[in-house]
């Protein structure tokens, strides 16, 4: 459990002149359930995009599985916070979930039967069985969110990046998703961005707080047990669950 899965070294990101992340260093280890909290606009989504290599850092080094993010992508599952898509695009729920299997298949190979079974299973897991043939553009907010989770799970990634996975998910499903994540973390590493303070205290093993202003901690249920000195100003690391 001491493998470094994600290593950020003095990473800075600025877009169009505004600094979003500044000299951020972070290590996430194998089979950790790592939480990221922080105020809106704190840079959490940007951080995940840096780990995926979708956002190039202005400065600093990023390693995922010890290599360049762009190379390690196929081993990562990702639930984006928002999906910018064309509502009219003709694509069904099951086709979208299958996209999660794309990295396991090369060119010239369509999705196999196995892929389809896994896709159906993933949809069942998020309670979307029966909606396979629905158009993605017509889904409700929560249904879409569930779909995104299923798509990330179906690829059986080694590292799972979740950006507020339970936003607009109903309480019942929320609970079962957290239960699922708890069982998954035995076989993979999970990094989750969330504003759900309850989930942080119950499920997550370590928490980083991005750009937290002081007020934040008062409301949240995070107990600031330990502030790791190895991170610079904008990140606070809080340990939980007495693990490690």
């Amino acid at each position: 459990m001491n493998h470094e899965i994600v290593t950020l070294n003095d990473v800075s990101v600025s877009i169009g002149g505004t600094k979003i992340l500044e000299k951020l260093s972070l290590k996430v280890f194998e089979k950790e359930f790592f939480g990221i909290v922080g105020p809106n606009g704190g840079g959490k989504t940007t951080l995940l995009r840096v780990i995926l290599g979708l956002q190039k850092p202005t400065a600093g080094k990023v390693k995922v599985f010890g290599r360049d993010p762009a190379i390690s992508r196929k081993r990562i599952g990702y639930v984006p916070q928002r999906l910018f898509f064309d509502r009219d695009f003709p694509i069904t729920v099951s086709e979208t979930v299958l996209m999660g299997r794309i990295s396991s298949r090369g060119l010239f190979r369509g999705y196999g039967n196995e892929d389809k079974v896994m896709a159906r299973h993933a949809l069942e897991t998020v309670g979307m069985a029966g909606l396979e043939k629905r158009q993605v553009g017509g889904l409700s907010g929560g249904e879409l969110q569930r779909l995104l989770i299923a798509r990330a799970l179906v690829g059986q990634p080694e590292l799972l990046l979740l950006d507020e996975p339970t936003a607009s998910i109903d309480p019942e499903m929320k609970t079962s998703i957290y239960d699922l994540l708890d069982s998954l973390v035995k076989s993979m590493t999970i990094i989750m961005v969330t504003h759900d303070t309850g989930a942080i205290s119950q499920h997550v093993s370590r928490v980083a707080c991005l750009n937290c202003r002081l007020g934040m901690h008062e409301h949240g249920s995070i107990t600031k047990e330990e502030l790791s000195g190895m991170y610079h100003y904008p990140v606070d690391i809080v340990k939980h669950k007495g693990e490690d």
Binding site: L52, L54, P80, F84, D86, P90, I91, I102, F108
Partner: protein
């Protein structure tokens, strides 16, 4: 009616219609779901610049056609992705620039210059046998590439960022897709003319979309619609003795309006 098939031109026209329908159905579906109906005109007119340069340099202008249209497709793709310009703007810029380059080089070419525009215009009734082979080859190529990259094309068209995050070479595939479109456009423009290509890449897939929301089914359906419109348009143009291209387009457009209106009236929203 049957007598007309004695003529080679009619046999060729029917074959051209059928072969073109396959390419139009497949590529048109991508064009419609990506909302870049503009691209057929854009690539054809951008390629005109290549013809002008070719003429000026004394090369056979037709030789410049396919490379230049591929180059325009790549230019459009790179301009829109790398510098974050909307695709339609990039297409418009290439459209206009290509035409301008063409006109300028024609102006610079000494002497009386033939009508270079005509390289971009054809008529379905005048397709020679050799061109049929060319479209058949194109069809085969398109079917193979789309078969090989179907799931990737779907992924990059719908959610490019996720495809990128899954390790799919999105830029490459996007450019490949544009090149397929460009090839289809140049080849079909030569054979059936620019106006018909705009129509056939737009209307049949738009109708197909009313009947299926699956891209693959859309492709198949719009190939069928395309074949139906071209054949029935041909037939009507024979009956009424009017221009074939115009009749084919009109058949397609009228059907489209009827289907759209019908769906609107019968639909419950």
């Amino acid at each position: 009616m049957i007598e007309i098939f004695r003529y080679e031109f009619m046999q060729n026209a029917v074959l051209a219609a059928l072969l073109a329908s396959l390419a139009c159905g497949i590529i048109g579906s991508y064009v419609v779901v990506r909302k870049i109906g503009f691209i057929s005109g854009g690539i054809a007119h951008a390629a005109f610049g290549g013809i002008g340069i070719g003429y000026y340099l004394g090369i056979n202008p037709l030789l410049g056609l396919i490379p230049f249209s591929l180059f325009s497709a790549l230019g459009i793709g790179l301009l829109s992705k790398k510098t974050k310009v909307a695709e339609d703007t990039a297409i418009g810029a290439f459209w206009a620039a290509g035409m301008a380059v063409g006109v300028l080089f024609i102006g610079l070419s000494p002497g009386y210059v033939p009508n270079l525009f005509s390289y971009l215009f054809g008529s379905i009734l005048t397709v020679p046998r050799s061109d049929l082979l060319m479209i058949a080859g194109l069809d085969l190529f398109i079917v193979l590439v789309v078969f090989a990259c179907y799931k990737e094309f779907l992924a990059i068209s719908f959610d490019e960022e996720y495809a990128e995050a899954s390790g799919v070479p999105t830029m490459l595939l996007y450019l490949l897709q544009l090149c397929l479109i460009a090839l289809t456009v140049v080849v079909l423009v030569r054979v059936v003319g620019i106006v018909m290509v705009i129509a056939l890449l737009t209307i049949p897939p738009a109708i197909a979309r009313y009947f299926s929301r699956n891209l693959l089914v859309m492709m198949v359906l719009s190939s069928f619609f395309c074949a139906f419109f071209t054949l029935s348009g041909l037939w009507m143009s024979y009956i009424f003795d009017v221009a074939s291209g115009a009749m084919i387009i009109l058949t397609a457009a009228v059907t489209f309006m009827i289907v759209a209106a019908g769906k609107k009236l019968s639909g419950n929203n």
